[in-house]
């Protein structure tokens, strides 16, 4: 690169209690480029942005801005240094006008009073400079989210920003609005602004970005020009699997599976959808079948599953359970029809931390029975002890508080809770995330066994290896769309799944 980077980060390190969020990450941003920061959740993207904007002080390394080492002490200092940020949720004041929002906190003054005429005139000028058509007099809440987003950008660049950070600006925009945003980004780029762009949407990355930096697990994976790295390579960089060694691993480690009894569909979704969460999708789940859902984080895997459990309401399409068309008004309806859902967020959506292992295990069954028909203590102890033994939950004390258990053991408690309800369809969202290898293998074994006994399982995981090992069929999601369903008949490789994720079409 002939130019000098406007922003350079060297060996940045950030630790949180128990976690190294950033481990010696280098990062360069040049003037007049749109640069993508890529990585799965937990890769360190947000932390890096927060270090750059002064929200978190770095524990090590240095930040060089326009050739000068700087110490960014807080968001205000970051802004004064020329680093502006627009977050996913617009954080402006919806009750104020567009012009007021652009100049809030730094209003032009005249004789000590705010010069409102100047506020409006200069706001209109700024909007015009970016060739936008926004009335600066109207209150912000009367504008669409996309326009609010643009106003936030106008505000951000009006402080002479050299660096503009856009954190997931497109997640709530439709296609036309994204186009509008991109037009503004290109104009700013041409004016020499360096733009750091974060998005889960691969197509958008390839449409707008000149270069990208990939992070994984808090480490720098690499810095590339967009044309150097195709989508398959990018995905494997993000997930962290080496393409070369994948084939044998995928085939060799896969266990023998009994074929499900075809023609006994437990659940059938036709064009099921929820706006902003998942595009219409068709899915049939047979008894005894394990269906894997693969896709990047934020691709709509969880959202698709939540519709099947009634955790979110669908706003289109039909759902048949055991051949009967059904509307699920809530989880209670789904549970009554034999569906169980282990959420990916064990702590916030799964367990009740201050209750004991026993209480957490019986909770779903007890809820289904209602409070007037309590499970006797003997029955509760019996369930708890049986499943503590079956799943090797440690400590093996049913009266231990669940919040004191390790992640893997918490996951087992959650599984036990649903298994005692004897479900016909078990939805597992990331059941092995963040748990040790032993517990992971046990859970995989359990899932395979359950399917052999005739339970249908929807298995969601970011780890392709275990998806392939367990699933009879793999549904691939990308950008909130179920793009393919691949039969896992022995010939399916991780490479093929990745290629499908990357290209958005069956490979």
């Amino acid at each position: 690169m002939p130019q000098q980077p406007v922003l350079q980060v060297r060996g940045i390190r950030k630790e949180f209690p128990g976690v190294v969020a950033l481990d010696g990450v280098d990062f360069r941003l040049f003037p007049g480029e749109v640069h993508a920061l890529m990585g799965e959740n937990g890769a360190g993207k947000s932390t890096l942005i927060k270090v750059l904007t002064g929200v978190h002080p770095a524990d090590g390394g240095e930040v060089v801005l326009a050739g000068q080492p700087v110490w960014i002490a807080g968001p205000l200092q970051a802004q004064q240094a020329g680093i502006s940020t627009v977050y996913q949720e617009v954080n402006l004041c919806p009750n104020l006008s567009v012009a007021e929002n652009i100049f809030i906190g730094r209003e032009p003054r005249r004789f000590g009073m705010i010069d409102w005429a100047a506020v409006r005139r200069r706001a209109a000028e700024l909007v015009r400079e970016l060739e936008l058509d926004i009335d600066v007099h109207v209150p912000l809440h009367s504008c669409s989210i996309a326009v609010q987003q643009l106003v936030a950008i106008v505000r951000a660049v009006s402080v002479n920003a050299k660096v503009l950070i856009l954190d997931e600006p497109t997640s709530s925009l439709d296609r036309d609005e994204v186009g509008q945003l991109f037009a503004v980004m290109r104009r700013l780029r041409d004016q020499g602004v360096a733009i750091l762009f974060v998005s889960h949407f691969l197509d958008q990355i390839y449409e707008i970005c000149d270069r990208m930096t990939v992070l994984r697990g808090g480490r720098l994976e690499g810095e590339y020009r967009t044309e150097e790295l195709n989508q398959v390579e990018l995905v494997s960089q993000m997930i962290g699997a080496e393409l070369a060694g994948l084939d044998e691993l995928g085939g060799g480690a896969r266990r023998e599976r009994t074929a499900p009894a075809r023609g006994t569909a437990f659940l059938q979704a036709d064009g099921l959808t929820r706006r902003g969460a998942v595009e219409p999708y068709d899915l049939v789940i047979e008894r005894g079948e394990v269906i894997g859902l693969a896709g990047l984080l934020g691709s709509g895997r969880t959202e698709a599953a939540r519709l099947l459990f009634g955790a979110d309401q669908s706003d289109g399409g039909t759902l048949r359970i055991e051949g009967v068309e059904t509307t699920l008004r809530g989880p209670r309806d789904a549970i009554a029809r034999g569906i169980a859902f282990c959420s990916e967020n064990r702590k916030t959506e799964g367990l009740v931390g201050e209750l004991t292992v026993r209480e957490n295990i019986v909770l779903a069954l007890q809820a289904a029975r209602g409070w007037t028909r309590p499970l006797s203590r003997t029955v509760q102890d019996d369930y708890a002890l049986r499943w503590i033994r079956a799943l090797d939950i440690r400590p093996g004390n049913p009266e231990a508080l669940v919040r004191n258990l390790s992640g893997g053991n918490q996951q087992k408690v959650l599984l036990a809770r649903w298994l005692i309800t004897d479900p016909k369809l078990l939805i597992l969202d990331e059941p092995t995330r963040g748990i040790d290898i032993g517990a992971k293998a046990e859970i995989q074994r359990l899932v395979a066994g359950l399917a052999e006994d005739g339970m249908a399982v929807l298995f969601i995981s970011a780890e392709l290896e275990e998806v392939l090992r367990l699933s009879h069929r793999v549904g691939v999601l990308r950008d909130h769309r179920l793009v393919a369903q691949l039969e896992n008949d022995g010939g399916l490789t991780q490479e093929r799944v990745m290629a499908t994720i990357a290209s958005g079409a069956e490979q």
Binding site: F341, V352, L355, L363, G370
Partner: protein
Amino acid sequence: MSTATAVGPAKALTRYRLFWPAVVLAALLLANLAFTPDFLAVHVQGGHLYGSLIDILHFGAPLILVSLGMTLVIATGGIDLSVGSTVAIAGALACLHISKAADPGSLGTVLTAVGIALGTALALGLVNGVLVARIGVQPIIATLILMVAGRGVAQLITDGQIITVTSAPYQLIGGGYWLTAPFAILLSALVVLATALLTRSTALGLLLESVGGNPVASRLVGIRAMRLVALGYVFCALCAALAGLMISSNVSAADGNNAGLWIELDAILAVVLGGTSLGGGRFSIGGTVLGALIIQTLSTTVYTIGIPPETTLVFKAFVVIVVCLVQSPVFRAKLAARGIRARRTTRPQAVAPTKREVGA
């Protein structure tokens, strides 16, 4: 693993949930002995029990009831500020009915009055419950409405006056004796026991704790949280109404202005002193009863040891701070650590070689 396998009986006792509230209550009672040597004495006079302990239970009965209802509401992660107003409304309605009745002394009149009070409370509780559970108003705001408006309603019912009644059966509720003991004590004990039984021998307690502990997870396991939360507010209002009947019965009068004034704050304090977290989740009915008794004992102490009225509130606040600190495990741990350090620095040679704990 640091989980102790062999803990001495004394240490096991301190881990028991009700240990610290019980210690505080005992300490307060014993402190009174220094000022009033016969403080703990209970004697029978004319077939009735007398003594300071009986007084504490008797005058504490309404607070115990209100705190009991508050416990369940707090367990669901909510709070009910309107109990004081409900106390006033219940007393006002009952006394109004009795005072207007042809035969104020008949049992039928009194039962109707009680029925009117409880029925109204049920409706008020349902309003709170629907506002919080169904419409999703913040509990503190939803119940603030009734807290303010209810006080006004009570004054409208009494027409701004104090309604006095003369009715023997009504007077029994709060001021009478039955089987040598004040009826209010027996009634509140009965309600406490019934509630303990209802929550712990059915699944109600577990489901309430689940809803309070993690509302999102509770929805996803299929608990009908809305109903449970609403039920909590209804129960709380009923308890408050019963307390209102006791208070007005004890003085044979309904005072829309002052009956149950600020009792919601004492009730919340009682719940917290009893070890139930304001964040919701785990609740302890036994703890709440102890908490209410601590507060009542404190009030009694203020009178018996002759603290000047103008410093009463400050004194109470001071004791409450001390009680909260004593009950805080973090504070106790800090205190203990400091104590050990002090001992070590004064007599370093006396320190035995400490056994190093082996972590697993």
